[in-house]
C-alpha cells in the first residue's frame, strides 16, 4: 500500500451556458489528473451563465487545473473557494 497525499479543493466556475460546457470541464479535469468528489451544476438556465461548483482532489497543485479550465473558451472565470484540505488516500 502506498500512502498518497491528495489535496482537496473546491472550485467555483462561471461559464457561458452552452450545452457542451460540462463535458469540456469534465474532460479537462480528468485529463489533467484530478478526481471529482462532488459537483453541482446550474446549467441550461436560459440566462446564459452557468455556475458549476465542484470538489476535486489530486496530488497535483490546483493551479494546474485552474489554468487549464480558464483556458477553455467558454469559461468566464474559475475561483478556488477554500483553503486546501489534506486527506489521506491509500491505493493498493
Amino acid at each position: 500500500m502506498n500512502p498518497m497525499t491528495l489535496n482537496k479543493y473546491q472550485l467555483v466556475i462561471m461559464a457561458d451556458d452552452k450545452q457542451v460546457v460540462l463535458e469540456r470541464i469534465l474532460q479537462v479535469t480528468r485529463y489533467r489528473g484530478f478526481l471529482i468528489n462532488a459537483m453541482n451544476a446550474e446549467v441550461n438556465t436560459g440566462n446564459n451563465v452557468a455556475t458549476i461548483t465542484m470538489t476535486v482532489s489530486s496530488d497535483r497543485p490546483i493551479s494546474l487545473l485552474v489554468d487549464q479550465i480558464n483556458k477553455l473558451i467558454d469559461i468566464k472565470g474559475v475561483k478556488v473557494d477554500n483553503s486546501e484540505v489534506q486527506i489521506q488516500q491509500y491505493s493498493a
Binding site: V20, Q27, Q68, N70, G77
Partner: protein
Amino acid sequence: MTESKTLTGSSLLFEVLKDHGVQHVFGYPGGAIMPIYDALYDSDVKHFLCRHEQGAAFSAVGYARAAGTVGVCFATSGPGATNLITGLADALADSIPVVAITGQVPTAAMGSDAFQEIDIFGLSLACTKHSFQVTDINELEKVLHQAFEIALEGRHGPVLVDIPKDIQLAEVTQRLDKLSHLKNKVQLPLADISKALELLTHAKQPILYVGGGVGMANAVEEVREFAEKTGMPSVSTLKGLGAINPDNENYLGMLGMHGTKAANIAVQESDLLVVVGARFDDRVTGKLDEFAPNAKVIHFDIDTAEINKRRTADAAILGDLKGNLPLLTTNLEISVWQQRLQQMKTDFAWRYDHPGDNIYAPAVLKTVSDLMPSNTCVTTDVGQHQMWAAQHMAFNDPSNFLTSAGMGTMGFGLPAAIGAQISRPHDTVIAVSGDGSIMMNIQELATIKRYQIPVKIVLIDNAKLGMVRQWQDLFFDGRLSETDLSDNPDFVMLSRAFDIKSQKITKKSEIKAAVEEMLDHDGPYLLQVQIDAAENVWPLVPPNTANDKMMEGA
C-alpha cells in the same frame, strides 16, 4: 444586424472565408457536406482534393505553418470527420491555427445513429483548441468568425466547426453588421520584468532557450536582436529551429534527446534559463528533476497554463513576446562563458567524413541544405531522418522547417509539403521522409500529380522503421520486433506511376549530382537515398536520464 439578399448557410460559409482572406482549402467531399461542395462550385476559393482527409488536415497544417496564416480543411460526416482527427491533434500539440469544417447529418437525424453519423463534436473536445456545432442558422456567421479568431488568438490552435446538412441548406436572412469579437477574459498580466532584470544581471552562465512560440509570436527579429545584443548563448527546441540565425557564433543548436552535446552541456551548467515560447517538453528536458539543476528560470509565454507547469519560473512574463523581450536587453559580462561554449561547439562539431562508399544520411541532408535556395521550406516525417534533418540542415526562419514536433506524427511530411508549396508557390519545398512514414500518406502523390505540385521528396530509405529499430537495439536487447521493411515497394516505380520524376542513389559519390538534379528539376521529384539500415542517430539521451548523460555512437 442588417437585411441583405438571402443566401444559404453554405454560401455564407464562403462569404466568411472571403472575409478572412482564405484563398485555398483542402478537403474531401461526401454526403453530409454536399451543399457546401455545391456552393464551392460557384466560389472563388480554390479547393484541393486530397486523397484522404488526414492528408487534407496535414496540408492545412503545412499551409498554415509555411505562410503564418490559418489553414482550412473540409470533410464530410462520420469517417470523413474521424479521418481529420490525427491532423487536428497534431495541430493542437504544435499550436497551429487550423479551421476544420465538417458536414454533419441533418439536425433532425442527429442522435439517432444515422448513416455516417458520429459525434465529432464530442470527439473534438480532446483534440482541438475549441469546437462548435451549429444548430441554428442564425448562429452560423458568428460562429465561423469566432472560429478564425480563436484559431489565431493567443496561443494558436485548431478549431472545428460541425455543420449539419439542413443548416448548410437553410436560408440566412440576417447578416452581422461587423465581425464579432471574442470576449476578452480579464487576466492578470504577469510581468516580473524587474525581477527578471535582477536575475539577468546576476547571471554568469545564462542560456537563451528558444521554442516554437517565437515564430508564432512573429518575434524572430526581436529574439535575434536580443541574442546579438546580449551575446547570450542560445539553444533551440525542434520547433524553434530557424528562430536563431544559424550563423550566430553563440548559438549551440538543438537541445534535448537528440540535441547537440554543446547545447545539452551548456544548459545543464547554466545558472539562468531565459525561456522564450518553449514549454519544457519531456523530449527537451530528459529527466526533469535533473534538468538544468542550478538554473533560475525566466519564462516568457503567451499561455498562462505553461508557467510553472513542468518547471517553476523565478520570473514569469506573460503576453506578447515581441513587446516584452526587448525590455530585458542589457549588457552581460559573460565572455568567459561564451568562450568556453564556443570552444565546446568547435570541439563537438558534426563530422561528415564517414568511412566507406555507402551513403551517410547526415551527409546527404547537409548537402541538400547547402545547395537548396535560401528560402526553401523543408518538411519532415517522423523518425531518424527527422532528427538528422533537425541536426544537419540549417534554416533561416521557423516557417522554413515544418516538422511534427509535439505529436511526432508519421505521415506528416508529404501532405504538409503540399500545403506549404501551395501557400508559397515561388519557394522550393522539400519533404524529407522515411520509407516507413511516406507510406502513411502515400496516396497524396496523387494530389501532387493532379495539381503538378513541384514538391521535392528526399526519401531516406533504411528499409526499417529506423527509430524504433534503434531503440530495440539499444534498450530491448536487439529484439527487432516488427521494424523490418525490407519488402518495401519499388519507390522509383511508384513515383513514376504518379508521373513524378525519380531516382535512387546508393553510393556516396552520387550524392551531389543527384541533389543538384532534383533541385534543378521544375516539377515534382523523388530522390530515394539508400542508407545503411544499422545507422543510428547520435547523440542520444536515454529516456528518463539527465541531458548530460548522452550516449554517443562510434
